[in-house]
Point group: C2
Chain length 353, copies 2
DNA sequence: TGTTAGCACTCTAATAATTTGAGTGCTAAC
DNA sequence: GTTAGCACTCAAATTATTAGAGTGCTAACA
């Protein structure tokens, strides 16, 4: 596939660059004028070759050329100039320190959407491989027990359990001890029915209610309903003519609203990623049909060993890849820093005396 | 405004009904044929009158008539036939019993969007007037304290507080006692700095850390970030030609994604509501500019004394008002029942032995 | 052998011209 | 008060026309 001589590469690059900017099919004359001192006829010959090789196509006979998926791929892999590191690092934004992961993720995805002007999404760190750090149940009132679970990375999950009567103090203490000793360090996968019945036996309290509560705690941990995909800038699809006709925009925004399919697709991504953790899907590379006219770029972030999430954008194939990659790298590292790296600081602001 | 004789009312009703169904301006002939045995010429005369009175207009000289906002208003207030109660109650759906309010609301709003085919939203019960029911702090690890607050209606809020060192057991116990006795039954508005410093004094522990934790707990309670608007069916805007051109759809979906302006508008609604709790805003009735071509219908639900939220839909002015009102009433009551009324049942399902 | 000027040809997109038909308002008769 | 009839209007759909960007190919040139 690497049978392109230098001139063809230059021309291909010129075509793609130009198309990225204008969105119009680019003709031989444009290239001839602005990039090289070759006549348009010569360029035409080269273009014919590039078309035969599959890097570009004509939307119709008497039009200029636009890149194929393969053309984009070659551009991303070989031609694209990465942005200057120094410039990009400059933009160091401090995310508001917050006790809630959710809030942080929402901030990050908003920044991403703003910076890139593409629809952006972020998948919260998966709990599959995440470990239980702390469990606690308490009586809230006569009919409700609250169960709270803190996972590695300080993800908090909670659930209110409806019960017939409150647990007495002694049982409560026992159960809390039990829960912490048994569940600490386990992952979602480690928690199953036998473990629960095991704990029940250990508890030594033979009430129906104990089993119910234990089950609910297990449920609380395994429940991944609230570990979601956060999105921002869905309406950015309208910015790009190739995606903004009603039908396409509708499908895309819908996929963005549904989030389920998105989440699944992105989850797959996490596995495929290479050392940089960055993936570029062009057109049909991504498995979702509605996204055949889109490119998807994702970056996997890691908040601790095995605690991975994904951040990414969806936009037209005609995308400013360099800028997107730059932003993703940047946010990925800042996100990781915000959670892992930063020194402890006050959370409440200290403007009041 | 009530100077319409019966025949005019019938004709106006016919025009609006027809327009709701077809979306096309309706001409005199259509009315003459299907609704009354009057000639089209007679209908034309009446229409001219109705136009002069402001209930209908012609989009252009040689077109049929469409209702004005005033026409719709008259229809909603006086003409519209409410749906049969029996039929509507039939559709009694059980919402999955869940410990999480958030989940319940998401389910409800999804059902609403599905039933009506309009963009739907639900505003979580406001905490302003909601009371603290239970507070608890605990050491999660050496550097983190978890604060959990349960409000009336079992809304759970939590926050992880970063600290220099864990609180010793004794202090922890003391603080928990203190928090519960001091905060129980208070609303967000009741919680202020003097209360906090008061508590700090009572604690008798003169460490920096105590104040920090107390402040954070207060923050946890007052934080309304996660009491949000949930939406569903934003892409339904595309179903209605009058809203589906790029510009409008974009603005509307954007408003739906932003949620902030929505939330504010809806919050205002809560106050205006009459005994039924239902409000219909037609066109410019709603204060948001982007919604001038829309109607907004909202219902206020109440989960306990003073704990109010709002559920509503946004759609074209040409809307099936009867169906929407019916659905809102229905869901409002079911939502209230799901939280308040229903007898305690197992949360964990009992299919396993 | 690679490059280039030139020309006929193609096809889209924009503009203009034409047609169609639904609907009105008005008048005059019932 | 109601209605038939007719001239008139205007949006929307259809068709024709034009303009222009771009191509492929050929033949000449260095």
């Amino acid at each position: 596939m690497e049978q392109l001589d230098e001139r063809k590469e230059i021309i291909l690059n010129a075509i793609i660059q130009n198309y990225l900017e204008t969105g119009e099919p680019v003709g031989s004359r444009t290239i001839s004028k602005s990039y090289l001192n070759l006549s348009s006829a010569t360029i035409r010959n080269e273009m014919a070759d590039l078309e035969e090789l599959g890097y570009i196509v004509q939307p119709h006979t008497s039009a200029g050329r636009i890149p194929t998926d393969m053309g984009y791929r070659f551009y991303v892999d070989h031609l694209m100039a990465e942005k200057d590191k120094e410039v990009s690092q400059m933009q160091e934004l401090m995310f508001e320190k917050t006790g809630k992961m959710e809030k942080l993720l929402k901030q990050v995805v908003k920044v991403l959407a703003n910076n890139t002007q593409y629809a952006s999404m972020i998948l919260a760190p998966s709990v599959i491989s995440n470990k239980v750090k702390f469990v606690q149940i308490s009586n809230v009132d006569d009919n409700h027990v609250l169960s709270v679970v803190v996972m590695e990375g300080n993800l908090v999950k909670n659930r209110v359990i409806e019960v017939e009567k409150p647990l007495d103090n002694e049982t409560m203490l026992k159960l809390n001890m039990l829960l912490n000793t048994n569940l600490n360090g386990l992952t979602v996968n480690d928690i199953n029915l036998s473990l629960i019945s095991n704990m029940k036996d250990q508890a030594g309290v033979h009430e129906e209610i104990v089993e119910q509560v234990l089950k609910s705690v297990a449920d609380t941990i395994t429940d991944d309903e609230d570990l979601e995909v956060y999105t921002s800038g869905a309406t950015n699809f309208f910015k790009y003519p190739e995606l903004s006709d009603s039908e396409k925009a509708k499908d895309l925004i819908n996929a963005f609203e549904e989030k389920k399919p998105l989440a699944e697709f992105i989850q797959d991504v996490e596995n495929e990623s290479d050392e940089t953790g960055i993936q570029v899907y062009i057109g049909n590379d991504s498995s979702i049909k509605t996204m055949k006219d889109c490119s998807v770029v994702t970056a996997t972030y890691e908040l601790g060993e095995g605690v991975k999430g994904t951040i990414g954008i969806i936009g037209p194939k005609r995308m400013d890849y360099a800028n997107v990659l730059d932003n993703l790298k940047n946010l990925k590292s800042q996100l990781e820093k915000a959670v892992n790296g930063s020194p402890a600081t006050d959370i409440v602001d200290s403007d009041s005396s």
